[in-house]
Assembly symmetry: C2
Homo-oligomer: 424 residues x 2
Amino acid sequence: MGHSAEQPIDNFQASLQDSFPIGTKGIWAEHKDNGRYSLIEEEISLPTAVILQSAVDHNIHWMQAFADKHQVKLCPHGKTSMTPYLFKKQLEQGAWGMTIATPAQAEIAALTGAKRIIMANQLVGKANMAEVIRLQSSFDVKFYCSVDSALNVQQLSAFFAERGQQVNVFIELGVDGGRCGVRGIEAATDLARLIHQLPGTALAGVEVYEGVISGDDTETRVRQFIAETVEFARSLKDQGLIDTKEAIVTGAGSAWYDVVAETFSQYTDLLPVIRPGCYLTHDTGIYEVAQKKVMARAKKNHGIACHLDGDLKNALEVWACVVSTPEPGKALIGMGKRDASYDAGLPIAERGFRNGIPIDVTGLSATAVMDQHTFVDVPADCDLLVGDVIAFSTSHPCLTFDKWRYIALADDNYIVEHWLPTQF
Amino acid sequence: MGHSAEQPIDNFQASLQDSFPIGTKGIWAEHKDNGRYSLIEEEISLPTAVILQSAVDHNIHWMQAFADKHQVKLCPHGKTSMTPYLFKKQLEQGAWGMTIATPAQAEIAALTGAKRIIMANQLVGKANMAEVIRLQSSFDVKFYCSVDSALNVQQLSAFFAERGQQVNVFIELGVDGGRCGVRGIEAATDLARLIHQLPGTALAGVEVYEGVISGDDTETRVRQFIAETVEFARSLKDQGLIDTKEAIVTGAGSAWYDVVAETFSQYTDLLPVIRPGCYLTHDTGIYEVAQKKVMARAKKNHGIACHLDGDLKNALEVWACVVSTPEPGKALIGMGKRDASYDAGLPIAERGFRNGIPIDVTGLSATAVMDQHTFVDVPADCDLLVGDVIAFSTSHPCLTFDKWRYIALADDNYIVEHWLPTQF
């Protein structure tokens, strides 16, 4: 294994005076002595992904305040951004730990300073287990992963016990028709006994992902599922099956974190942990829709989300140029599947500029996307020209982040001094 | 600008003895002295993207032979892989140059040794133009880009002439309802006169992308469009509007390269260049379908494709583990939108292994994909277990490549000694 686990991350951000990998898209600019590059003035090669600093800072504060007021721990899902600079900000603002999806992501969380890491997924495969062995040996970190089968528990226990280690596991409870997770409390209790009994696994609590629940009356079903989850965690504790100091109960993506936190906060005998990820940059698509529902529920229930500073804001954009206007009513943008997410809606034009001056982009509508192009319908009264610069928001954020090795960090005037390395 | 344009790429491949960036997925393995890591024996962390060396070598030869026999130049579209190791192989086997989509990609092509670079897209935006200025100043390279509007031609000429340079441009011809490109020969001829007349632009020929033609009787329409394209290029030459030594005519993605090459090869007064990209690794989805049509046309027309060594082979896979079997008939794979393309069909199970022994994966069918998971329907007679390793092919290749910073290069026994860095 070529890279050193012990070397902490120190390149949280880079300026154009630093050395970039060759050919990295979105980081070319002609040198300026002041190191300040204007997106509006076209001083940075496009397309480029942009983090709006004030919005991302606001969101980090907002969700931490939400968790603090509910007396639940915030363990943000880092898979969204995989951006050490943002992990560090989340931890500095009070995050209890970082959630991740894979051992490779866990390493980034550890190197960024997380002391508690929840891998909200099953740890499967010898090389992946070996990576966690190394993580636990190299870092002062508590690692947790999910299990939902006796076979995986046996595999984990054998692997970790043989190497003189234990791995902390959560039982993942699932729902019929859902994703991973044990179906039913009886099977889950049997699994708890096995974990408790085997030498290489330590039962640390219960994990769920309520985001797979959909259909009619989702809110009621989510509340019910979370209540069952908490009851199950308490029963494990009562039966003496929890092997760690604290019995953790953990759930919540960025759509139902309010419902999960409300339910969790009714119990003081467990350590409740929520794991939203997409709140970090939010979006103008599926998470905007979900957050509107959060705010509507808060208004109805006098929930805490109403009493915080404002609301989540979109903090992630892709800036790109109009490259062609080949037919009336049609424009092509120099941005495609290689640059922006397209799995939950196409990019949305937020702002436009021509030679540094704002232009109206109202009514522009993306209709299709190819590897390096986006097709846009242009209203008759819009005089879009080749070379116009447009800032697009996207849906959902995870799949915009993973298209970029460096993301420009912009102030409120769209001036960029630093680029944030991602670690996908 | 932080990176040095003059430093050639020398890290075409990396072994696990080399230093990898931290947290890079798919490259963890416990050290082996012989440096040979078995995918089947789970010696590499999964998921990981895998290039099958013999298949990719075969495909590179195959397409070069196809182009050579048609006496057309092959300028492979590098955007597919953005993998310098593979660019180098394509150039070594006889490619005339590299095609790319953006100035950042052009830099990689130049650093890999390409002497001719076709940017089969419009060059728009001051920072992007500045990057090409730098490229032309730093490398012994001929750069060409496409134009389809007078405004872009004026922008380019002003920018390049002010800096004492010229940029070679192709007029892109488009089709009604298509993507970029001038609509109609009259407008295209006007544009040619403008290019010829302005100081910063040099007209080098005509570029098309016939891949946007679809619907009824596509083949006839493609043939007609390519014939018109060639006639237009000849008329530009006849009118003395071509500013470069040779008049180039260029087209062809990986679906219609046979039709394009056949038409091109009927003319000897132009330099014909085809630009397929996805043939490199091929796939088992949309390009397999397209290639079957190529072979069917060749059979019917006694085409050259029938007289080459075999056919294109899939050379790109993502290997991943079964992480959960939560309900009868359902399995979850530890591979998702972060790891494999999903825009033109979901991943397809090709082979399976359990503890190093082959298992049958016939009938497995991916039904949905999330960021880090793939849902698979499992036939009743298939006993898939947590921990089983499955090799998946994908569709289409470009969007699997761009998920990875390193791709494992495997021999026919699925042994990996080197990882190939990508440069997205």
